[in-house]
């Protein structure tokens, strides 16, 4: 497997929304990163639809049809429909085959009738339960994921994604306690190992069909830290620790690309600007138009270098402006139209910089994802590119350095909790062993009893 040891983007200012070094083409005349931004919509199946295959198929059909109708009604030139599976879909590959097929048929119909560029992303759920035997490898759950991936690819998915959960038991433990070593072990080491296991199989499946391997996201780990960190006044997780976890998440999510994923990388991967700077693949992002799903402190900034603009997820129900697939596609569609207008008029760098500056000093988590800082973290990662442990640690250290520089320049102010936790975690990170095996041995000894769900055999350790 190749590892990134050099940056594809040599300078941060080369990065901009709607353009990537390695654009991706799909069926239905869709390109990503080829000079325009594509809006995305994603809607969670309504409660009760999991009751039968027929109900789930009807639900997915409804979501796709609603999105297509609104896209035409407001004149969108393109859009991506993503269906994140509920566990019932992934547990029953025949459900996934049928839900994918009906959605693909609807998108194709609209493509043929109106010429609208469309894409169908299918994201099977990571339903593996680590503590049940070798839950991550070769369990029934694991086999169902593989079968479902194939069912989606065979029935019209444009690309496949997943949010892998490897290492989550460790990172959850660490995030709740501010234990940066556990977070690094969970994200940088275990997460990276599990992604490699999962993504080699996904890439092989995609090779058999007209279906692209999209990408992963550190949703289960770095986003857990971000969501628990919450707003400015929340008192659960330090925002500086969450920023460092995000840096590590980039080193981890890069593994999908190293295994052959081509993008657009998954929308909830807030680490994606870093991965784009390293690998040049197109990315999906979410922010201010994902407030229907969750809050963040970088709603504009994450538009800066994205290629797909997503709403993340929303209940399937009616709003005053229509059903949620209609309403939220319209929201992401108008934002993409602004970015595309900037691209068409040569103002993309201005808009990118304005997006970035609105949030850059709102929070340390935003600061490290500003495209220039994302590029710096990318460079720290590729310096140790061959070793997922060392590069994750380097990413976190660089993120800490960026925060400290902004503080020293009186551009960002930290609370005592953020300041103290940053100082403590940076010291721990600096003192960690330079040898991966030594680090792993120490962590297995330290956490096997404290984190009962963790089984080293799931990672072949």
């Amino acid at each position: 497997m190749k590892r990134f040891t050099k940056m594809v983007y040599k300078k941060p200012e080369e990065m901009v929304f709607g353009r990537s070094k390695f654009p991706v083409s799909q069926r239905w005349n869709m390109q990503f990163g080829a000079g325009y931004v594509v809006p995305e919509v994603k809607v969670a199946p309504v409660e009760g639809s999991e009751g039968s295959k027929e109900k789930m198929v009807a639900e997915c059909r409804n979501i796709a049809q609603s999105a297509c109708e609104r896209a035409i009604a407001v004149g969108l030139p393109s859009f991506m429909l993503e269906q994140e599976h509920v566990s019932h879909q992934t547990n029953n590959p025949e459900w996934a085959a049928e839900t994918t097929r009906v959605q693909a048929e609807i998108l194709e119909k609209y493509y043929e009738e109106y010429g609208i560029r469309v894409s169908l992303r299918q994201t099977p759920a990571d339903i593996r339960i680590e503590e049940r035997g070798l839950g991550l490898r070769g369990s029934d759950y694991d086999n169902n994921i593989e079968e479902t991936m194939e069912a989606c690819a065979a029935n019209g998915a444009s690309d496949l994604c997943i949010e892998t959960m490897g290492g989550k038991a460790l990172s959850d433990y660490g995030i709740a306690r501010g234990d940066i070593r556990a977070i690094l072990f969970g994200i940088g080491v275990l997460g990276s190992i599990d992604m490699e296991y999962m993504w080699k199989r996904i890439v092989n499946i995609c090779k058999k069909y007209d279906c692209r391997p999209g990408g992963d996201t550190d949703c289960s780990q770095a986003n857990t830290a971000m969501f628990m960190a919450g707003g400015l006044l929340d008192k659960d997780v330090s925002h500086t620790v969450a920023a460092l976890a995000r840096g590590m998440g980039a080193a981890r999510s890069l593994v999908a690309v190293e295994c052959g994923a081509v993008g657009p990388l998954k929308d909830c991967g807030y680490e994606n600007p870093i991965v784009k700077s390293i690998s040049g693949v197109p990315i999906a992002m979410e922010g201010k138009n994902a407030v229907c799903a969750h809050s963040d402190l970088m709603g504009n900034l994450v538009c800066g270098v994205t290629d797909v603009w997503s709403n993340e997820s929303v209940y399937h129900r009616q709003e005053m402006g229509g059903t949620t697939p209609e309403v939220w596609l319209q929201a992401t569609g108008y934002e993409a139209a602004l970015m595309n207008t900037a691209l068409q008029t040569g103002q993309e760098e201005v808009l990118r910089d304005l997006y970035t500056l609105t949030d850059k000093y709102r929070d340390p988590q935003a600061l490290i994802l500003a495209y220039d800082n994302a590029h710096r973290i990318g460079k720290a990662i590729v310096k140790y590119g061959k070793d997922p442990y060392l590069r994750s640690r380097a990413a976190a250290l660089e993120a800490g350095k960026i925060i400290n520089e902004a503080v020293d320049a009186n551009k960002l102010y930290l609370t005592r909790f953020e300041r103290d936790s940053l100082d403590n975690t940076l010291k721990i990170l600096e003192d960690l062993p330079a040898d991966r095996d030594q680090f792993i041995d120490e962590c297995i000894r330290a956490y096997s009893r404290k984190v009962p769900d963790f089984n080293p055999k799931n990672y072949e350790l």
Binding site: E13, A44, P45, V46, E47, G48, S49, E50, V86, S87, H88, N91, D126, I127, R128, I129, E131, M165, D172, I175, A176, R177, G178, D179, T224, M228, L232, L233, K235, D236, V237, S238, Y315, D353, L354, T356, L357, T358, D359, K360, Y361, R362, D363, D372, K411, L412, Y413, L414, T415, R416, F417, S421, K450
Partner: protein, 275 residues
């Protein structure tokens, strides 16, 4: 010239993004100097040292002090009630005031639990608690950090929290009610399609003639209107509300219907979903 040099200096952040957390931060405190903590911490040894170790989240120290106390012949229940739990009371006080954060609470909880384990070994059986609460993650749902926090908050407040784990079959939840007869129950889910396990659990409980004073349901995509569409349930907003809800059942004999009406009052804060 980069945007940092060209555009950034022109921005007055007061019109763009205000870091209220920094603006409003009060003076630093030393935990043990807080008057309420001083009132809670025991004066006598070894209880004071045990409680202080818990307050600092120092598991090694709390375990050593608990062992020393047990070896000197102090009854394990005294170690638990006068040392470990006093330390946790002080931690809860600081967390409520906003001086302590979740990691402080978790590390102190770990220290308390290790000391408790030592004490219970000496005791030869489980110690008495305020009551039993059963916690589970809905069938089909592997996301358990919310449940883990709930369990930690309950244990930190003196409850015996039975952790059934994640992706728990509805039947196992019903069996746990039969076995433990809990004072309270919590269920968490991240997805719209897994939260449907909650009414199914309630239906099974009713079929089997079982009842729980209340089942607190919460998590990612869980909505209040859905939770209130079936009986026995209460929509839980924050993990740290859980012990307060349990207290309301234990001390004030509140029912699920009453908790729904008085949620904000019970947890003692403004809750947009209820107010």
């Amino acid at each position: 010239m980069s945007y940092n040099e060209e555009l950034e200096p022109k921005i007055d952040q007061d019109f763009v993004a205000v870091r209220y957390n920094v603006e409003l931060e009060g003076p630093a405190i030393t935990p043990e100097n807080d008057p309420d903590v001083q009132a809670i911490l025991p004066k006598d040894e070894p209880y004071r040292s045990i409680a202080r170790a818990v307050l600092r989240g120092d598991t090694e120290e709390s375990t050593i002090k608990v062992k020393e106390g047990l070896n000197s012949g102090i009854p394990p229940m005294d170690i638990i009630n006068n040392g470990l739990m006093k330390g946790m009371d002080a931690v809860n006080e600081l967390y409520t005031k906003g001086f302590y954060f979740l990691p402080d609470l978790m590390l102190s909880g770990d220290s308390m639990m290790e000391g408790l384990k030592e004490s219970e070994e000496a005791l030869g059986h489980k110690s008495e608690t305020k009551g039993t609460v059963v916690s589970f993650v809905a069938e089909g749902d592997p996301h358990d950090i919310g449940k883990n926090l709930v369990v930690m908050f309950l244990r930190a407040n003196g409850y015996n929290a039975i952790d059934l784990g994640r992706d728990v079959p509805n039947e196992d939840v019903v069996n746990a009610v039969r076995e433990y007869k809990p004072l309270f129950m919590t269920g968490t889910a991240l997805m719209t399609t897994t939260m449907t396990a909650f009414p199914k659990v309630v239906e099974e409980l009713e079929k089997n003639g079982l009842e729980v004073p209340a089942i607190g349901c919460g998590g990612g995509a869980v909505r209040k209107d859905f939770i209130e569409s079936f009986p026995m349930s209460v929509y839980g907003v924050k993990a740290y509300h859980t012990p307060k809800l349990a207290d309301s059942i234990l001390k004030d004999k509140k029912t699920w219907k009453e908790i729904r009406k008085k949620y904000s009052k019970i947890v003692g804060e403004f809750v947009p979903e209820y107010d």
